[in-house]
């Protein structure tokens, strides 16, 4: 199963490097669907605010919450599809560079030195062969698909529970459904963002492995950037954000199971809402760090290609 999902991130055997990737189209369509759903929930909220019946407004706001989170989840699913497309194109790019560089670079004059070195982009190392993937890279390759799958299922399950909440507003069943909706959907959002983070980790792994393969195929020293600080911060933020997302789900379940008074229920919702948002915020902060790391690695690799083209080494 893992191998099947991993194969999604690689180009089809014999595929044309000029072909238009279908993942991008799928991603754009999913993003558009999510945006339309968000507009629907905006209209629902405005109609609830303008209505005269508070009970009807509460019912509308209940399903509107579920639908909004499902809209966000759908766009994130689209983002994941596009990232899969990026991974496929990266593999094709590596193949293009590997095939073309021997015709573009002069023959090397001397082998480079092996060991640690400093570059404009941070500490790097020079080796004779492509470095093995780091444990976090192997984990990212295995985990992105289960995270995205479980995340979107949790978001959809929460959407269904939001309809139960909407049909039982003002009752204890409605309160339980409210807690379950919020906990489940934000767990799902957290898992989706973790899946996206793992896809970004897979992109970093692909850049590292691809850069190494190109250099190794030319018979020159393989220079690889050591894990930058931004990458370490990325891993820490992602792990913390995922833990907070799981913890908020557990706390919502505890709340639903404890038959609280109305006051206690309102008090818990008052602080649990921001906690669940901080969980997602930390995951998003991790994604910023991953993207910054990708930018740094790309800068390093372009510099390396320039060196090879100029000197052959």
């Amino acid at each position: 199963m893992t191998t099947r999902f991993e194969s999604l991130t690689r180009p089809a055997v014999g595929g044309d490097y000029r072909s238009q990737p279908r993942q991008r189209t799928i991603g754009f369509v999913l993003a558009a669907v999510g945006l339309v759903l968000a507009v629907v929930t905006l209209i629902a909220n405005i109609s609830a605010a303008n209505g005269d019946d508070p009970a009807t407004a509460a019912e509308t706001l209940a399903w509107s919450f579920g639908l909004t989170t499902a809209a966000f989840g759908t766009i994130k699913l689209g983002i994941a599809a596009i990232l899969i497309g990026v991974l496929v194109r990266l593999s094709i790019r590596v193949e293009s560079v590997r095939t073309s560089l021997p015709d573009l670079a002069p023959a090397g004059t001397s082998p480079g030195t092996i060991g640690s070195l400093e570059t404009d982009y941070g500490a790097a190392k020079a080796t004779l062969t492509t470095p093995r993937p780091l444990p976090i890279h192997r984990m990212a390759r295995r985990m992105w698909a289960p995270m995205i799958g479980m995340g979107y299922l949790a978001v959809l399950a929460g959407l269904i529970v939001s309809f139960v909440w909407s049909a039982n507003v003002g009752t204890s069943t409605g309160a339980d459904a409210q807690a379950w909706t919020q906990g489940l959907q934000f767990l799902g959002e957290g898992l989706l963002l973790a899946g996206i983070s793992f896809l970004l980790g897979t992109i970093l792994a692909s850049l590292r492995e691809g850069g190494g393969r190109v250099q190794e195929s030319l018979g020159i020293t393989v220079r690889t950037l050591r894990m930058p600080t931004t990458a370490k911060v990325f891993v820490a933020l992602m792990a913390t954000g995922l833990m907070v997302s799981i913890a908020q789900f557990v706390l919502y379940v505890v709340l639903a199971a404890s038959n609280p008074t109305q006051v206690t229920f309102a008090s818990w919702l008052a602080w649990l809402g921001p906690v669940r948002e901080v969980g997602l915020g930390l995951l998003l902060a991790g994604i910023v760090m991953a993207l910054v790391t990708i930018g740094t690695v790309l800068g390093f690799q372009f510099d390396r290609i320039k060196d090879i083209v100029r000197t052959g080494n």
Partner: protein
């Protein structure tokens, strides 16, 4: 540097003698991702602490409805100020990646000695920039209005405060969806750049061997 606009199937690009470097959005992305990231990390703790104060007020022996209502406006204001910051940081980080491709691709072609071909800004990149700006507006304006409502909880009727909250919540969510949509298009632009560069380097190799 001389620049000419050319078209080959699927791609509009410019041809010049030297690398074009970063464009304006990419320069902005390189400078501003970190301040926006810092804004998010500062806003969230404030929102979190205010939510604890509000929760404590709700369960206190004599809760003050005005304080609860005021904090009910301030908490989402700070939380979404943070989300505005982090989503903008993500957009700027994507612009930074696109900048790395543009500058690096140009410099490599210059080093090879051929004409430097650079992809013109694709339509997806324009959607990315436009939706980022719209998302920023759709969150910033409700955040400001939350502060306005918070300042008026004692003068406005409670129903009015509730109605405002419901409408502002809807716009905040739409802003979030717009940001996510923008991010999807920013990443989609990276795919287009990767396709262009893969074809360009093969073209350069073909020219070298011809």
């Amino acid at each position: 540097m001389t620049t000419a606009t050319k078209t080959r199937p699927e791609f509009d690009y410019t041809e010049s003698s030297t690398g074009p470097g970063y464009n304006a959005p990419q320069k902005m992305g390189r400078r501003l991702w970190a301040p926006m990231f810092a804004l998010a990390l500062m806003a969230w703790p404030i929102g979190l602490v205010l939510s604890w104060v509000r929760a404590a007020e709700i369960v206190s022996a004599t809760p003050d409805p005005a304080t609860v209502a005021r904090l009910g406006q301030l908490v989402p204001a700070f939380m979404f100020l943070g989300f505005m910051g982090i989503f903008t940081a993500i957009s700027f980080a994507i612009a930074r990646i696109l900048g790395a491709f543009r500058r690096g691709g140009g410099e490599v072609q210059q080093a090879i000695g051929g004409d430097v071909q650079t992809l013109k800004m694709p339509a997806t990149a324009r959607v990315f920039i436009a939706m980022t700006m719209m998302g920023m507006m759709a969150i910033t304006i409700p955040v400001i209005l939350h502060f306005v409502v918070a300042a008026n909880v004692t003068t406005w009727a409670p129903e009015t405060v509730v109605r405002w909250s419901e409408v502002l919540e809807g716009f905040r969510r739409l802003g979030t969806a717009m940001y996510l949509f923008a991010i999807a298009f920013g990443l989609g632009t990276i795919i287009q750049v990767l396709r262009f560069q893969a074809q360009r380097i093969r073209g350069l190799a073909n020219e070298a061997t011809a």
